[in-house]
């Protein structure tokens, strides 16, 4: 292949106020291993994202494999020819899916048939040594294995351009070496393939065919590694890079000097691990680790990801009790319950773990106070520590505004606030660029040599391991050897520590070694046709592959599954009873000052109704008040003396009734009931005494309470709550499913594959429609059997309506997802946005016909209105398709309109 694989001209990218790329122009040669090197924040990831088509171009031009990336048709044609692995261990993989399922998903996206997929999974996993772990979920893989799997997924469709963003950051040397030999093997098989890699590790870049150095969004220089070294007159790429930096960025860079330790044997043993063992279930994380560290020593810990380094360190800090063996600090056995030992150790964990919300000074002050330092002595300590670590200027800034290197210094300062004689540092320099790493090491050397602080540090960087006084090599929970770096290199008879490390480890794990027969071994003729044609705009298989994957993920997330199936059941139950307006079995008592058969008769009418239950009678006015005050009685009656006599005479008596007004709605209902019973009793009395005419009205009002003759809340509420729940939860689930991908990063797979927006959205929607139909059936069964609300109309009509309604409800979630970035926002945003129109404008409480203005318009359009009419019709009114067909039309129209809106709002590229 001739000509460059990618051409970039005048590229500029700005995030809010930060300039990520500033007028970048490049020509990346084809058919070779091209590297983009530079420190954190240089703009490497932004550049690769643009090359892969994952990110939209703001200004400038990008041509990849001859295609202009600003043209969407050209992009669609290009996607099958490139593969992109974003930064972060396994960031575009699906954590709950297994190794095989992940590769299978990517293969499906490129339209491969089942047989072909099987062969490719087999070939790729055999080449990467992953075939033993086919059914292991991604979140149980080590960092190195995740990256190998990422490579498998990228190679599954035989791309012509492979784009890798910092594929080996945070990966141990052996896995790193295996990763690169895998890439070499693939390139050997398919020499036409171009590879573009970003890295912050310069040693790694020495092997590249061509590199470009980026800093602060600008290109410092490009060319072969030799050319760059020659241009700057340096020996290594790292110094070449520093040489290329402008004067002010170069700073006072000098190699780290380490003075020798005086008189090693005489000093005291500080840390001792004696057959330390830690098991988690049946997994042994650390297996009989033994070593000892002397005062003032810098002791390094090197080993592959997940080999037990962190667990060992945690046992030595007292965070974690060992399963077997002993950890001793200054000859005392460590006891995790003894808080005193914590004063002797400063610990820095692998990830930044201070409060982002507190300034540097407040973070340090909190640590000082918890260690019992306060007042002027604490302030003094903070000042001197800040001065020593170069943090004085940053004291009143928030950690988020500091560079990674400064954040690491802050963590160190927090670990040292109480002047511990021992520091345990877990990968403190991971992800930090070389200049900042050297600065950090200078501080460590000073602490060790001048203050006699014992330092126990773990690292993936071999040049850092070389600076340690002694190192321990760890693998699979075992300490393989402990010695000075020089002695280890000598013993293995190799050139440097990395080779020694790899040699030691390879003896333990020869089965993991790649066999050199890497991917891309499928015949090329299969892909000839596929490559030349533009992928179809809509492909059912891609849609189904998204649906298939979404279902798998959902099944492995118990909380979301519960929410989807049981959430609506729980809420129906709660709301059915919680919104109930019935007054049943209300306690009442009587202060009967008459005590005649007539007054007893009056009382028994009330006591006999199903609304009231009589309590022991009241003796006095003050008792009445006290019992009302305590909330015991909802209603108290006072029948005056001479009630029966006055009634006979027609003298007009007055019965007193006190209602507890604390709950006005209930009080209104009680008043209605009491008045009704009272009137009824009077009529009965009048008829009995032959005076009916005197009180009967001259006409009759025949009131028929239709559909719900007993006025039971449940009959009214349940069919109204079902549409509400079937809007809220399905919408929330689909909104979450899209936003989750945005938050976790797997949305990149949608950005860089030929998947169209419609395929993506429909694929994500399908499982939730199916699941929500299940939830609809459960709700219906529960309404009928548990809540005792009969379904009087057509079940078929109701189910059909539910299917259409759920398609609309899930589409509402898809529309909302376009505006949300985080899962929290999606949950609460959907709850608010979907519930308000459903509750206020859909006729749940007030009929839509009573609404005016804007609310009326929303009510007429919102799908809930129409499904509510159907649900009430089918449940309470005994209706079927013939009567309800008018409500179907707006529902049927809503589905395509909402999905269309979601498609328009979804972006195919990140911005």
């Amino acid at each position: 292949m001739t000509g460059p694989v990618a051409q970039v001209r005048g590229l500029r990218l700005v995030y809010r106020r930060t300039i990520a790329l500033d007028d970048v122009s490049l020509e990346i040669p084809a058919g070779c291993l091209a590297g983009i090197i530079g420190p954190d924040g240089a703009g490497k990831s932004s550049l690769l994202g643009l090359l892969a088509g994952a990110r939209a171009i703001q200004a400038g031009g990008v041509h990849v494999l001859g295609a202009d990336l600003s043209d969407s048709t050209a992009r669609r044609r290009l996607y099958p020819r490139i593969a992109y692995m974003p930064q972060g261990l396994g960031r575009n993989l699906y954590a709950t899916l297994s190794v095989a399922e992940n590769i299978d998903f990517f293969a499906r996206l490129f339209g491969q048939a089942a047989a072909e997929r099987r062969v490719r999974i087999e070939t790729l996993t055999r080449a990467t040594g992953l075939n033993e772990f086919l059914s292991r979920p991604v979140d149980k893989l080590s960092g190195g294995m995740k990256q190998k799997l990422g490579l498998c997924c990228a190679l599954v469709h035989d791309p012509d351009l492979l784009i890798l963003d910092e594929p080996t950051t945070g990966v141990d040397p052996l896995s790193r070496r295996q990763f690169w030999s895998l890439v070499e093997a693939v390139r050997a098989r398919r020499p036409g393939m171009s590879v573009v890699v970003a890295t912050a590790t310069f040693e790694e870049a020495e092997r590249f065919d061509w590199v470009t150095a980026l800093d602060g969004g600008r290109v410092l220089g490009s060319g072969s590694v030799e050319a760059l070294r020659e241009r700057t007159g340096t020996q290594s790429l790292e110094s070449a890079f520093i040489g290329l930096l402008p004067e002010r960025r170069r700073g006072r860079h000098a190699p780290v000097e380490i003075p020798p330790r005086p008189d090693d044997q005489a000093s005291q043993v500080v840390i001792e691990a004696d057959s330390l063992t830690r098991r988690f279930g049946d997994f042994t994380a650390v297996d009989a680790a033994s070593f000892s560290i002397r005062r003032g020593e810098i002791f390094g810990f090197v080993g592959s990801n997940g080999c037990g380094k962190t667990t060992t360190m945690k046992m030595l800090t007292g965070l974690l009790p060992p399963s077997e063996g002993e950890a001793r600090l200054f000859s005392h056995v460590l006891d995790p319950r003894d808080l005193q030992t914590r004063r002797q150790v400063g610990y820095m964990s692998q990830f930044f773990s201070l409060y982002d919300e507190l300034t540097v000074r407040r973070n340090l002050r909190l640590h000082a106070r918890l260690f019992g330092l306060s007042g002027p002595s604490a302030s003094e300590r903070i000042c001197s520590l800040a001065a020593r670590l170069g943090l004085t200027d940053s004291l009143d800034r928030l950690p988020a505004h500091l560079s990674l290197g400064h954040r690491q210094r802050l963590s160190l300062a927090a670990a040292m606030i109480h002047q511990p004689p021992v520091l345990i540092l877990d990968e403190p320099t991971s992800g930090v660029d070389p200049v900042a790493r050297d600065d950090f090491w200078r501080i460590l050397v000073d602490l060790s040599r001048n203050d006699g602080v014992t330092i126990f540090i773990s690292t993936h960087f071999m040049n850092e391991a070389e600076r340690c006084d002694r190192i321990a090599l760890m693998h699979a929970g075992e300490v393989l050897s402990t010695d000075t770096p020089a002695a280890i290199v000598d013993r293995e008879g190799v050139d440097d520590l990395e080779a020694a490390f790899v040699a030691t480890l390879e003896r333990r794990v020869d089965s993991d070694q790649p066999d050199g027969g890497g991917g891309g071994s499928l015949s090329a003729d299969q892909r000839g046709a596929e490559q030349s044609s533009t992928p179809a705009r809509f492909d059912g298989r891609r849609m189904l592959s998204y649906a298939w994957r979404e279902s798998l993920e959902l099944m492995r997330d118990p909380l979301r599954l519960t929410m989807a199936l049981l959430g609506s059941l729980i809420l129906l139950f709660v709301m059915g009873y919680g919104i109930s307006l019935d007054v049943d079995d209300l306690d009442f008592a009587v202060l009967d000052r008459d005590r005649t058969t007539t007054s007893r008769d009056y009382i028994s009418d009330i006591a006999g109704s199903r609304y009231f239950i009589e309590q022991p009678s009241i003796a006095s006015q003050s008792e009445l008040e006290a019992r009302m005050r305590s909330g015991e009685l909802g209603l108290a009656l006072e029948i005056p003396p001479g009630f029966a006599r006055d009634l006979r005479r027609g003298a007009g008596v007055e019965i007193g009734a006190w209602i507890d007004g604390a709950m006005p709605q209930r009080a209104e209902t009680i008043r209605g009931y009491v008045e009704g019973i009272h009137a009824h009793w009077l009529q009965r009395k009048a008829v009995e005494s032959g005076q009916a005419d005197a009180i009967m009205p001259p006409y009759a009002l025949e009131t028929r309470f239709r559909y719900n003759p007993n006025l039971e809340s449940m009959v009214a509420m349940a069919p109204a709550v079902i549409p509400l729940l079937l809007m809220l939860i399905p919408a929330m689930l689909t909104a979450l499913s899209v936003v989750r991908e945005k938050e976790l990063g797997s949305i990149t797979n949608f950005h860089v594959t030929p998947t169209s927006r419609l395929e993506f959205l429909l694929g994500k929607q399908m499982p939730y429609v199916v699941l929500s139909m299940g939830s609809f059936l459960l709700l219906t069964i529960m309404t009928i059997s548990v809540l005792d609300v009969p379904l009087t109309g057509s079940f078929i009509t109701l189910s059909l309506a539910a299917l259409v309604y759920l398609s609309a409800a899930t589409a509402v979630g898809l529309v909302i997802s376009a505006f949300m970035r985080s899962q929290i926002a999606a949950i609460f945003g959907t709850a608010i946005l979907s519930i308000i129109p459903a509750v206020s404008f859909s006729g749940m409480l007030e009929p839509v016909s009573s609404l005016q203005g804007f609310g009326r318009v929303i009510g007429e359009l919102y799908p809930t209105t129409h499904f509510l009419t159907i649900a009430r019709g089918a449940f309470a009114k005994g209706l079927g398709m013939a009567e309800l067909k008018d409500a179907f039309l707006p529902l049927l129209l809503a589905v395509p309109v909402l999905i269309g809106l979601a498609v328009v709002l979804l972006r195919k590229q990140a911005r």
Binding site: F280, L319, S349, F371, E668, E675, A876
Partner: protein, 374 residues
Amino acid sequence: MRLRNVLNLAVKELQILLRDPIMLGLIVYAFSISIHAAATAMPETLSKASISIVNEDRSPLSWRLVDAFNPPAFLPPALISTERMDARMDEGLTTFALAIPPGFQRDLIGGRDPALQLNVDATRMTQAFSGAGYIQAIIDQQVNQFLGRYGEERRSPASLELRALFNPQLDQSWFGGVTELTSRITMLAIILTGAALIREREHGTIQHLLVMPVTPLEIMTAKVLSMGVVVWLAAAVSLFSIVHGLIGVPLQGSVTLFLAGTGLHLFAATSMGVVLGTFARSMPQFALLILLVLLPLLMLSGAMTPRESMPAFIRWIMLAAPDTHFVMLSQAILFRGAGLTVVWPQFLALALIGAALFAISLAGFRRAVGALAR
């Protein structure tokens, strides 16, 4: 447990909360606008009910009846034919349908006791029952006026003198104000504490605390204390300024007693926030849990609807929820002016439930912390 550590950690919690504009906004909104809006939005009486009338009489009296249904209680009546009546009710277009038969006026004057027919869509619970009473009263009045009986009140041999205690006008916003306040207290206590815990977990800061000389008990007490104090203060301010000041709820009982009860309830509710925070692995999971737990808690506590209308087993289960007791005590104190002699059982229940929840949350927190150390 050393008090100094707890205080230092509690101060840290407050400093972090002060830096979080979203949470601060939520607190202010929840205790001011949200309470006011929810309390005053509850409909006072029947409003904008839709009524259809089949006027087959077309007499002066029947037109008089049609004209009697006016806003705000009713929308202007729709005049329809008998045939359309059922369809309109089936489609949910109207809640009430009144049929005036031919010859109604004639029969009434003739003393032949004519009958009117009123159909009520009883699936609209909020309007059906009270609306039917309203309609009856309106027709009564019109008919009596028409028959010239106006002024000459029919004497009933026994009248019923109804008085509503504690809220004589049955003002919905009084009830709404207190109900909303109590539910906001529970909601904020759970959300703030749970979110504070999960944020520490997600950022890995809790692990960092554990390498310092502090115990899980101290960390948890600090959270319960700091978030409890924040919600307590917000509730007190809101009680005076919004509930009493703006909505105008008279504070009948002892405010001190109510605030003491609030403090006890917050002990239980913040502990519950910790329990939920240890269950959830991430903020999104926590948010889902909140929806599934908070809603039942608030709706079944007896704050929205009376407890006696719930089935017995729900009443039993809900006795274990702190909300139930808190709602009881706040209604008793704030509406009925009850003193400690009346509400001591609720105080006792809250103290016991709080202690139990705190113990559970501490166990859960220790377990979560143990898992973190892996």
